[in-house]
Symmetry: C2
Subunit: 313 residues, 2 copies
């Protein structure tokens, strides 16, 4: 297996975030889906990051990604402002209000992928305009797994291009509300089945503190949310989830059932770490050993022996 064959490609925002949570406030924090995804995935495998920043971006704060093996050759710098998002989280941390979204140089981003990027084996199209996701999809050669993320904004305003993307990919990641919205089905299992019928073999429904439900054909796997005593900032947790999941899939090098379920648990672990600090703060020094420990904790949290299995040890 060559390096590119085992590597991950992520295309998405590299942003500055202004975040208010019950735990505090932070302005101009480096963030964006591609950053949170890469920070998680690069613990496991080589990552090609494709994105765009403006003149003012504090690029030195992304050095930790390069140190961890993230290829930043696809990170363009353009004249103008970086993508900037501001949001305020409510007391229960499960809901938030968006204060501002300034798309900046990301508005007309049309990346031409390098040879290495286009031949990545695992591809994640982070939340973005489905037109951009399509533009990238057209350049993908022979990936084994292509996933896309999306959000309510595109479901409401760009449904046709989004459904076109969905028909062409292997996996979609969205949260429970988005799954209900895009399918028009209020039951989550029904919503996932509806989405699968539009194309994707795999549907990952992220449920925040409640973990995630992973649908693969007729099979369902449920992963618990890690019970954090304190959530500092949930921003990027969904992208770190996807990054952890892709990282573990890339490390295993297969989509076999047992491996992909373990990858969902790795996703939960990485999502939870991201919540422990503002921006990618917790990810900077996170080690694979700490991740493995949390994964074992997560497995233990749901481990149970039933009557017929009491004999197993």
């Amino acid at each position: 297996m060559t390096s590119s064959e085992s590597s991950i490609l992520v295309v998405g925002t590299v942003a500055l975030d202004d975040i208010q949570t019950p735990s505090g406030r932070a302005d101009g924090v480096v963030g964006g889906a591609a950053v949170h995804f890469s920070a998680a995935a690069s613990l496991f495998a080589p990552v090609h990051l494709v994105g765009v920043i403006g003149d003012e971006y504090p690029i030195e704060e992304l050095v930790f990604l390069r140190d961890r093996g993230v290829d930043l050759a696809g990170l363009q710098k353009k004249s103008g402002n970086s993508f900037r998002w501001g949001g305020t989280y409510h007391a229960d941390m499960n809901t938030r209000d968006t204060n501002h979204t300034e798309v900046g140089v990301f508005a007309d981003f049309q990346p031409v992928l390098s040879e290495e990027a286009r031949s990545a084996r695992w591809v994640f199209l982070a939340n973005a305009d489905p037109t951009l996701q399509s533009f990238v999809l057209d350049q993908i050669d022979e990936a084994e797994l292509v996933a896309c993320d999306t959000m309510n904004y595109w479901i409401s305003g760009s449904l046709d291009p989004l459904m076109d993307v969905i028909s062409r990919i292997d996996m979609i990641t969205l949260n429970d509300e988005e799954a209900r919205q895009i399918s028009g089905v209020s039951n989550l299992v029904g919503a996932a089945k509806w989405i699968q019928e539009q194309g994707p073999r795999y549907v990952l429904i992220k449920k925040g503190e409640h973990g995630a439900a992973f649908f693969s054909g007729d099979d369902i796997f449920l992963a618990p949310g890690y019970p954090l005593m304190e959530v500092k900032d949930p921003t990027g947790a969904g992208d770190a989830f996807a990054g952890g999941m892709f990282g573990q899939i890339a490390r295993l090098g297969s989509l076999e059932r047992e491996g992909i379920c373990s990858a969902v648990v790795y996703g939960c672990a990485l999502g939870s770490f991201t919540c422990e600090a503002f921006g990618p703060g917790r990810m900077v020094n996170l080690t694979l050993e700490e991740v493995e420990e949390r994964v074992e904790e997560l497995v233990d949290l749901t481990r149970v022996k039933t009557a017929s299995r009491m004999g197993e040890r």
Copy 2:
């Protein structure tokens, strides 16, 4: 072990419900916490039901409970109307509006427990006025596990008597919003810790379709929600959950960690069955074999092998 030593006592409402869900409507359905609890628990162990009904109650619809070994000697009949509740569920089935609550003969219910009831080993004080819960608690001799359920109404309006009950029991069951409300702590783990500090060794937080979190000392166990394709009527699911959990604990006859965690999964299974029909409709013919099958399904839904455990089979 005598019969009373392995038996379960439940004290709570025996009601008529008027239920509207996206799946349909049913009026005057037999229900109430004590009925839903008993329907579940009696699959596993003898149950003493203590409650009160009015003249008009269709007692013949509770014959299935007697056939399953529920002792109805503590079910009083009084002149007046039965407890009656009406509610409308929203599209996602996770939230509901109460249309009416007519307390009827339950208003001045002050049961004097029989010898068999007061010596039950496992006691569940279903959701009711904490003053009633206290009145029953005073009569309990030597139960090994006493649990109470409650709701936002009592947290808002009868906090002092409720906190007195909570200081005297072993376990409380509540949903996530109620846990946040009673503790004033928005983080669920923090909320559970706060509640444990008020007395109960065990805190069971019911999360509807997301399953349940069970706190025992510093230990946490997470059980998945069963992914139902269709939810007909969630009324009573929380009480059936408690009934399934108590039933399995009574059957095992111990509060050892492994057993009590399996009991939480049995609770999830019974809660999910209750959602499949209006009122206790699904429970009438439910068999223990079907329950065991669903428990195995639930265990499989979260079963995962991580890297370090790939060798285990």
